[in-house]
């Protein structure tokens, strides 16, 4: 894999006496799920810090990124926001499954069909060699619409457990409407905590990922390492109370 190559290069050049400029590691996370579940809103919320007033249908693949700081290391989180319509993913999105470090499956808690699609999405990922060794999580979005919920937490949790995937329920629109879930962490919002949890998980994994020269650090945030225990079980690194 490309990552392997560049990580070797990275560590050997570190050993050199004349140190190269610090490199920023990049975590690539692909966000998939049915059309309309809120993938674009979630990725926008994480990268731009707010709920987008208007989103348009995503055509092909959109890309968003944000620089964060984890345990003193600057890390670039790249989110690949994909089109939900089946025709796109069959022949277009494939290209982007390569080199991805983590997967976020999204469904809409107010749309049972989007939940029923999850097995197909999970299967598709497996076909692209994104199996258990790659951190994967499930996110149930639109929790703010309490009165129209179609997928209960218990059902979703059961499903997540059978696939050994951590489950998060949230809202891209109003991420604090979750109440006092302990994923939220301080005053940072819940969507943020979800992606940061994935980032922590990736950071605790051994292989170094693709890197690039460090850039100016706009929008850096700090998240302490407290909740990251590096365990492998789904429950052990995710917040089970969500």
């Amino acid at each position: 894999m490309a990552e392997g190559g560049s990580s070797v290069e990275f560590s050997s050049s570190l050993a050199n006496s004349n140190l190269p400029p610090p490199r920023t590691r990049i975590f690539k996370i692909i966000v998939i799920g049915d059309s309309g579940v809120g993938k674009t809103c979630l990725t926008y919320r994480f990268c731009a810090g707010k709920f987008p007033e208007k989103t348009e249908a995503t055509i092909g693949v959109d890309f968003r990124e944000r620089l964060v700081e984890i345990d003193g290391e600057k890390i670039k989180i790249q989110l690949w926001d994909t089109a939900g319509q089946e025709r796109f993913r069959k022949s277009m999105v494939q290209h982007y499954y390569r080199n991805v470090h983590a997967v976020v499956f999204v469904y809409d808690v107010t749309n049972a069909a989007s939940f029923r699609s999850l097995p197909a999405w999970i299967e598709e990922c497996k076909q692209h060699a994104l199996g258990t060794e790659v951190p994967r999580i499930i996110v149930g979005n639109k929790c703010d619409l309490q009165e129209s919920i179609q997928v209960g937490t218990d059902v979703a949790q059961q499903f997540a457990d059978t696939h050994s995937l951590p489950l998060f329920e949230t809202s891209a629109k109003n991420p604090n409407s979750q109440g006092e879930g302990n994923c939220g962490g301080g005053n940072s919002d819940h969507v943020e905590a979800i992606f940061m949890t994935v980032a922590h998980k990736l950071k605790s994994q051994k292989p170094l990922v693709l890197s690039q020269p460090a850039e100016g650090s706009g929008g850096t945030i700090n998240l302490s390492r407290g909740r990251d225990d590096g365990g492998d079980g789904a429950r052990s690194w995710a917040c089970s109370s969500c």
Binding site: T55, E56, I59, V61, D62, Q78, Q85, Q212
Partner: protein
């Protein structure tokens, strides 16, 4: 059958060219072009070559009023025999219904900024109907996300009924490859991009190959004719003029000129898929469109699809849009001017009533119109907000053509 506005132009053009002192003034070229377009429209058969040239050359078709006259000619559409407004049935039992509704309801950026939400909502409902009407009439065609971006660009200019006719033709020809059950043919069209770049700038081409950037960054450009990515509607319209008058592969040539235009930026980017995709997929809003359109035409002439296909082992027969294009173009050659068409249409006795007031609107809406229905009024307001002053001009033209034309716009 000559509009007053047209008379004005005739008048202007009766001056010998040397009296047109303003040749140096930009306006003169514009006036000249207006006259040429009008002349082409009244020629019998319609001078389609001139219309095509006008649509592609500097400034495109200039005004929405002209677009309403020329666009249908570019697609061989008789404006006196437009499809009826879709009835309520159109929304029943269509496999793409949910996706269409989802995409249209969230596509708000595509409407003029100042438009009140209620008016936009009316147009959005029309948009859903238009799309489903065309899909229902063509079971071989499959909706794709981005199709709504094409439909809205048409709707905002030509109104509901003409938009249906145009979308129908475009879907069967120019957009045909994108509407297969799978996107294999779309991919095939995208595959023309890199060979064009290779011909012009090998270094850039090789850089992009090394970055493994692929061509998905240009996907939304291609399948929406850039409607999805441009924030200024006037730029979208300018490109639509160009594409409606061109070979179906022209959007790919334009995509190539845009990449070439940004060659320095691209080469300075880190040679990495994500970085290059990121850079290219964000289209600068201040592109020199006229220049790029000219370059795209040059590239097309120099490296036509057939040549690329040979060099890049692309099989043009794989594209339905390419293989049907010649026949499509032939079909546009023998159109009668609107004045004749109208007479001919009227001559079909049974047709006359169809173009009366009741028939122009579906029965229920016709009645609603009579009672001053709010929805219909809002649609009209919506359209006038979009068109601004142009609506006045078209209303004038329509009065001359007969009120049915005006009704057909809505």
């Amino acid at each position: 059958m000559i509009t007053t506005e047209f008379l004005t132009h005739i008048h202007l053009f009766s001056f010998p060219p040397h009296l047109c002192l303003s040749l140096t003034e930009p306006d003169c070229g514009r006036k000249q072009k207006l006259a040429e377009i009008h002349q082409a429209l009244i020629s019998d058969p319609v001078d389609i070559e001139t219309l095509r040239r006008a649509a592609a050359s500097k400034g495109g078709l200039l005004t929405d009023e002209l677009r309403r006259k020329v666009w249908p000619k570019l697609l061989s559409i008789n404006v006196f025999e437009l499809p009826h407004k879709p009835g309520r049935d159109v929304r029943k039992n269509h496999k793409d219904y949910n996706q269409v509704v989802l995409d249209v309801r969230r596509s708000m950026k595509r409407f003029p900024k100042g438009m009140p939400a209620a008016e936009r909502a009316v147009l959005q409902e029309q948009l859903i109907d238009i799309i489903l009407e065309v899909l229902k009439g063509n079971p071989q065609l499959h909706y794709y996300q981005g199709y709504h971006d094409v439909a809205v660009s048409l709707l905002l200019v030509v109104g509901e009924r003409m938009a249906i006719a145009m979308l129908d033709t475009l879907s069967n020809f120019h957009l045909r490859d994108f509407m297969d059950p799978t996107m294999d043919r779309t991919k095939h069209i995208l595959n023309y991009l890199m060979p064009i770049l290779e011909q012009v700038d090998t270094e850039l081409h090789d850089f992009m190959i090394r970055a493994e950037v692929g061509t998905i960054f240009a996907l939304s450009w291609l399948i929406t004719w850039f409607g999805h990515v441009l924030s200024e509607f006037k730029h979208t319209l300018r490109l639509y003029d160009f594409f409606l008058a061109s070979h179906p592969l022209m959007p790919i040539y334009l995509a190539a000129t845009i990449v070439l235009h940004r060659e320095k930026e691209v080469k300075q980017t880190e040679c990495d898929m994500a970085m290059v995709h990121h850079l290219l997929s964000r289209i600068p809003q201040d592109l020199p469109y006229e220049l790029l359109i000219g370059q795209a035409q040059d590239l097309f002439d120099k490296y036509p699809p057939s040549l690329l296909a040979k060099r890049a082992a692309l099989q043009s027969r794989k594209s339905l849009s390419i293989s049907t294009f010649q026949a499509f173009q032939r079909s546009t050659l023998h159109q009668r001017p609107d004045s004749v068409l109208q007479r001919l249409t009227k001559a079909h006795g049974s047709d006359t009533s169809r173009h009366g007031l009741e028939a122009a609107l579906p029965r229920d809406r016709g009645q609603l119109w009579g009672r001053g229905n709010r929805m219909v009024k809002m649609a009209v307001w919506g359209l006038s907000a979009t068109l601004g002053a142009a609506v006045f001009a078209v209303a004038q033209t329509a009065m001359d053509w007969g009120p049915e034309v005006l009704l057909q716009l809505f």
